[in-house]
Symmetry: C2
């Protein structure tokens, strides 16, 4: 067997190897019989090479080659020769040469694959997933998995070089209150009790800061027992980071460099830094979103001041109730047909709005159903504030601040896509800062933490904790890229008196706090340093680096809703004994 193993990977076979006898191993991509010769395209993980079999060279080799079919695994020995100029294939790195086949060894035959091992074939996903080992042979999947590998290495090397220690934290741990549902793991050793799989290593990394490690990272698997979505898997990978004695801005700067290196070394894209910063307030006002896509304009323009005192009831009523009137200026939108404009109105309705008021300025003159309700002065002011030129279209929303943001934010995004305003080659990072520390929960009639209860309030806002908690801003930030949230991070509270004030606002009693977070609170009594960190969704980053819309294209063995594959996909039915034993344990 041994002597059949390769001397070269296919990509190493350039014109420099002409005249060399080589052995290559791989899979038959294609066989063509032509003019008494047999041509095999042999594929390995580095590429493809063409092998020609000629009866004048070896009758035995051509006989074996004639039996080869797609996906057969072969070893081929032969001499590298230059192709004639008319047969050079410029699409292949090995396109200037071919191998004159002298010996063939069949490692393994293959059944006919249920789909072609090629990109761009429109194969049913269920079939692809069922034969994932074949699907993974396609060039795009090979490329995606290689980018994922490279990203893992680049991030690790970068963090190592910047003094971060990779420290493994437990997977079998205690359930801690986070957003989603835990996976529980019954323990045989401690009967009747359960571990939880971590939703994040949050508490462990804070303990590591108390332990004095100062710069921690981990690229680790986390778990949430939630439904599958195109961008969500029940197990996911997180780049988890925590630091002590470090300003938020210093950490942001390190992270920016990390993304520069990551994009450069995985997909060759140069990212500009520092990244822009937007406060939560500004992001919501200008883009109607806390994860704005900055690759295009169409910003939300506030007309609330401008239209103060208007007699147009729709606008006036929103303003009176403390809401807003805002517009988006669609450049050139005056060319929209009435049908197109109505379609946008329907979209607005589907988003919960009563309708979508609009004005066109085809020749600079305002036209549309609402024009008659506005005074010439108001129209003039609107044009000025919204910077209207001939050919523009204005869409309006008038409602509560939240509703205006939600509706116009979504309309803006859809306009950006529909009007092809988005340059897919751009990577627009932005830090969103100054999130509110709390959000009011209408159901429970009290404040919830927007991030988690250990998030540090901005120092200057601490006095507001006792008077107006809703105004307290958090020492935290999200990193947003092209409209996607990549990370969520914050400085943590490390001093007891501030933590107690936060628990008061959240109406968490001392007993409750001690039950839920007692271990961490106790640790903080023994010299906790100022610390903070960030967690990046690695899977989301992978979708962006590979340009994939579906997370499943970036993971070797993803889970899918169809549970066809017991090994890689669905949880398995346990056998009767295991089930019985679990019963017994649970009854205790």
């Amino acid at each position: 067997m041994g002597h059949h193993f390769r001397s070269h990977f296919t990509k190493q076979l350039t014109t420099e190897t002409v005249g060399t006898q080589v052995t290559v191993n791989g899979w038959v991509q294609r066989r063509r019989d032509f003019g008494g010769l047999i041509f095999l395209d042999l594929r390995d993980h580095t590429g493809l090479v063409q092998v020609v079999f000629n009866p004048d060279i070896s009758t035995e080799a051509i006989e074996l080659a004639s039996q080869a079919r797609n996906e057969y695994v072969l070893s081929v020995t032969g001499t590298v020769v230059k192709r004639s100029p008319d047969t050079v294939n410029p699409k292949l790195t090995t396109g200037e040469i071919e191998i004159q086949g002298e010996q063939v060894y069949l490692f393994n035959p293959s059944k006919t694959p249920p789909f072609l091992i090629e990109d761009g074939t429109d194969v049913d996903e269920t079939l692809r997933m069922k034969h994932r080992y074949l699907d993974l042979r396609r060039p795009q999947m090979q490329k995606n998995i290689k980018i994922r590998h490279r990203a893992l290495q680049v991030v690790r090397q970068f963090l190592d070089q910047h003094g971060f220690l990779e420290i493994e934290t437990p997977m079998l741990t205690k359930s801690t209150p986070e957003g989603a549902r835990d996976y529980l793991v019954p323990s045989r050793l401690h009967e009747g009790t359960f571990y939880a799989l971590p939703q994040s290593p949050q508490l462990f990394k804070q303990l590591l800061m108390v332990a004095g490690f100062e710069r921690y990272f981990q690229i680790t698997r986390c778990f949430r027992d939630e439904d599958l979505r195109a961008d969500r898997q029940p197990e996911f990978t997180q780049i988890d980071i925590e630091t002590s004695f470090m300003e938020r801005t210093e950490l942001q700067g390190i992270m920016e460099k990390m993304f520069q290196v990551l994009f450069q070394e995985t997909i060759g894209v140069t990212v500009q830094a520092p990244f822009p910063r937007l406060t939560y307030h500004e992001a919501m006002e200008r883009f109607g979103s806390d994860k704005p896509d900055l690759r295009f304009g169409l910003e939300l323009i506030d007309l609330t001041e401008t239209l103060q005192g208007t007699s147009f009831k729709v606008f006036a009523s929103a303003i009176e109730k403390g809401g807003q009137v805002k517009t988006i200026n669609v450049k050139g939108g005056a060319n929209f047909t009435r049908k197109e404009i109505d379609a946008w109105g329907e979209i607005a309705q589907s988003l919960g709005a009563k309708g979508l008021a609009w004005i066109t300025f085809k020749d600079g003159q305002p036209k549309g159903p609402i024009v008659k309700f506005l005074t010439p002065e108001e129209l003039q002011a609107i044009q000025q504030v919204a910077d209207v030129e001939a050919g523009d279209l204005l869409f309006f929303a008038a409602d509560s601040k939240q509703n205006v943001a939600r509706m116009l934010g979504e309309i803006r995004l859809r306009l950006g896509r529909t009007l092809n305003l988005i340059d897919e080659k751009q990577f627009q990072f932005v830090w969103i800062t100054d999130f509110p520390l709390f959000e009011w929960n209408e159901e429970t009639n009290r404040y919830d933490s927007m991030h988690h209860p250990f998030t540090m309030p901005r120092k200057e806002d601490i006095p507001l904790l006792g008077t107006d908690p809703g105004l307290v801003r958090a020492e935290c930030d999200d990193l947003v890229l092209n409209g996607y949230e990549l990370s969520s991070g914050s400085q943590r509270i490390y001093q007891r008196e501030i933590q107690e004030k936060i628990f008061q606002v959240l109406q968490i009693s001392e007993t409750e706090a001690s039950e839920k977070f007692g271990f961490l609170l106790e640790a903080f009594e023994y010299g906790a340093p100022p610390h903070g960190g960030v967690a990046f969704g690695f899977d989301r980053i992978m979708m962006i680096l590979t340009g994939q819309q579906n997370l499943r294209e970036t993971i070797a063995f993803p889970k899918t809703a169809q549970a066809y594959d017991p090994l890689t996909e669905a949880p398995a039915a346990v056998d009767a004994d295991q089930l019985k034993e679990l019963h017994i344990r649970l009854r205790k």
Copy 2:
């Protein structure tokens, strides 16, 4: 808060920084008040620095310093000054300087720690684990965790440089038949069914080879629901590797280089390669173990041939039954007291032997209870074969081959330790090869796989599958270091006809094979390449690199038998709702 953050890590404060104003952050290691001055040793993760507070410099600073106690978290600003020659501390990298303290900022006070943050303190492990965040501050733990970090980086970089791709495999997967008990994870999405946490990514990595990735690695968490031991945790880290189209010897060569780099870059030890190779047979014959510690001699010497036809019944009866007579020559052992020799006999008995026959050669003359049963010619032959010199002691075992190996192998190890024959600074790697493919199971009266049923038989032994399976050797190897098994690896079967023969030997029916391994067997129908791999126990490697006898010293948050700490240690009791829900699911 911000301006209190460090300008320098303590280790950066050498004589070159004398005269500079610096800010350092860290924990108070010790405070001494002496002659109106206050001395603080401030510790960060890079080391220690001494700060001196003088009332002439700042009364405010010395006032704050006077309140500082052990483990308080401070920021200190001051000027670096040279120490007077008589106060230089050569044990510290910062021992030639100190900081003239000018400002102090208290980040956080600390309760009095329940134990000193120092190495070598004899603290109860339960207390250490309860306050693991304090225990982790000790220099030894800091060092161990840093070695672990470095090892993770070095191994990854090495494998990346050698063309291996890191590919993440699922944690929520199907139960597959491996040695130990699986942890099961009930799924909410697929009610009544359970995932299993992986004992290893074995099947996935073989699928990745079928998928054409050719060189895979992962440093990943694996799980076994087993009891805790000093060298075993229910969750453990594995360096997992698989390759296609590669000779076993080539893979061994790459792994040897990996260990050379690993030992060099973590603990500065130069490891010689290539590593020696011993067949399983030779290891068992010479050392009585398939994981021999090669740091010392005391090899087992076979006297079976020599004593053929002896009239000494104990030996004769073992030989007649097809067993062995073997000896260990303890150089200088003739000086053992009778009491010492008897103690070794008791050890042999505790290992299941009837006793431990012995002969001393104090002045070259054989003495001992069994001498009279042996002829002068036999005694002469024994001395010659066992290379006896004056002063030696021979220990004998006569029993079945297995029992002799087990007993003398253990006696050899204990002699090595007791006689201080082991140089703890040596690292003796050895590959153990040619394991039997099958072992006979007396209980079930059939063969079991020694490794797993996909292990490739040696090509030349394939004909024996039909005639004498017990003689078939496997294409596999263990890497052993100083008597510890670091890895287990093998070439895998990739051709159906061989796999079917193996299943026949194992008496696994087609139905059973299809149920247990159907997914993999189906994949093998579509062009599986020749492949093989290896898995290293990373935790064991860490114990060796850090010189620790207990695995818990090398992991930040290990599990212990005492379940005192609900976050890091024990599984948590789930709440009533969760329990009820699990009941319902399980009853379905």
